[in-house]
Symmetry: none
Subunit: 243 residues, 2 copies
DNA sequence: TTTAATTTGACAATATAATGACATGTTTAG
DNA sequence: CTAAACATGTCATTATATTGTCAAATTAAA
């Protein structure tokens, strides 16, 4: 396994999904290759050493499982399976065929990225002093706000603040790239599932709720969520705290 | 953490203060190291495992908070902050950056010593988990709950609580990674056999039973099992940081 | 001041969790 | 060996909480 730029093979018959995954994974520094059908996938997977294979079961129901099972006979490459909701039968078959993880479609790109990181972390037990550890993937600390991702806990002024799932996801996403401005479209794409096409003002409502809850405990923390007029929102780190 | 002779890092730019603290703390059996500025402190703190860090905020106002916050991203070492009288702004920031206690200068050496003892007592109470976990000791100790893995015995309020195998496995699994949230899928995968593909709500039922049994003996212990809405469950460690 | 964008509150539609009752296995005691 | 006690998983029901939409009120920019 290369130290950075892990190679990932994305197998899906929908061009849209392949493009979406490529977009998000390349942003994380992975190197992506694509395959459209099971045959090509299997051939590539055997010929090259990928660090991970993302496999959509809906290629054709039998096909996906079979690719996974036949690959397993020859290689130990981790496999992450994408599958439709409630597709229980395939879930059983998938695990039996040796899949390492499962993601139900529609998925949120962030979730897929984080699961991929988990798989790769697991599969390279030797490299456990990973970048993530040192860069505090788990704990994000700001002057007025602490986010512990494992615990999904947000603390302001030493007091815990309770958020709903979407609220938390939104806040955590903003906090993961402090000072960076995101448009509402971007937020919908990243924090919501990829097939959410509702009202764009939904973002505003959620921002409001996050601010509200933070504000009860710490106005300073609430003030970090900044509106960039005409553009979107960001989580701003105060730099002039010390007078 | 060594049983006696805990290692303490004293960070202060005044030589006089460092000497004073060393004098009193060595008399109590602590082993002292010193750092004169934030950079050195951070470097040492990350490189070595101290049991406590005493940090003077006046190093330079920005520096002290930053050292604390940046340290917190990587380590859980307790921090006691020294600061000038009435420096309210910094006090709030200090706690938010993850300080465990806070002493106003000028301080009485005896007070500092007793606060240090309190911090170390507290931190070893919650840190039992990781320590014992990592060193193969089978005892997981929480304020209201003790789990002895060899004996598969759970004690709350000094009273034994009887669990069925699955219930015990579930509780023990959660207790092995306190504060970490697990989805139902993860729990099924890790606590149940890998080939369990039944109803996901089975987890809920078992959680209910564990809570029920704990609750009869100790509501506090039962309350540790927290539902994270939309995500799953975790076993939460109470943090009574504020005196 | 005008215009466009944002904030906000209320509400309906969804989604998720807690619980109780039951069926089916599995162990234990006699 | 058998019956009772226990453990486990399922499922339907009830109880809660979240999420998205929309339109009116407010605010910012030019």
């Amino acid at each position: 396994m290369s130290e950075f730029g892990n190679r990932i093979l994305v197998v899906d018959d929908e061009e849209r999904i392949r493009r979406l995954l490529r977009l998000y994974l390349e942003k994380e520094g992975y190197s992506i290759e694509e395959a459209e059908d099971g045959g090509t996938a299997l051939q590539k997977a055997i010929q090259y050493d990928y660090d991970l294979i993302i496999l959509d079961l809906l290629l054709s129901r039998i096909d996906g499982i079979e690719v996974c099972a036949r690959l397993r006979q020859q290689k130990a490459t981790p496999v992450l399976i994408l599958t439709a909701k409630g597709d229980e039968v395939n879930r059983v078959q998938g695990f039996e065929a040796g899949a390492d993880d499962y993601v139900v479609k529609p998925f949120s790109p962030r979730e897929v990225v984080s699961r991929i990181k988990a798989i790769l972390r697991r599969s390279s037990a030797t490299a456990f002093v990973s970048k993530d550890f040192f860069f505090g993937n788990n704990k994000i600390v700001f002057p007025h706000l602490i986010i512990e991702h494992d615990a999904r806990r947000v603390t302001a002024r030493g007091q815990e603040v309770n958020f709903t799932p979407k609220e938390y996801d939104l806040l955590h996403f903003l906090a993961s790239s402090p000072d960076k401005v995101f448009s509402r479209e971007e937020l919908l794409r990243d924090v919501w599932k990829y097939d959410f096409f509702g009202d764009i003002r939904t973002v505003d409502t959620h921002i409001k709720r996050v601010r509200e809850k933070l504000n009860r405990i710490s106005p300073e923390a609430a003030a970090m969520i900044t509106t960039v007029w005409g553009i979107g929102y960001k989580l701003e780190v105060q730099k002039d705290l010390f007078i």
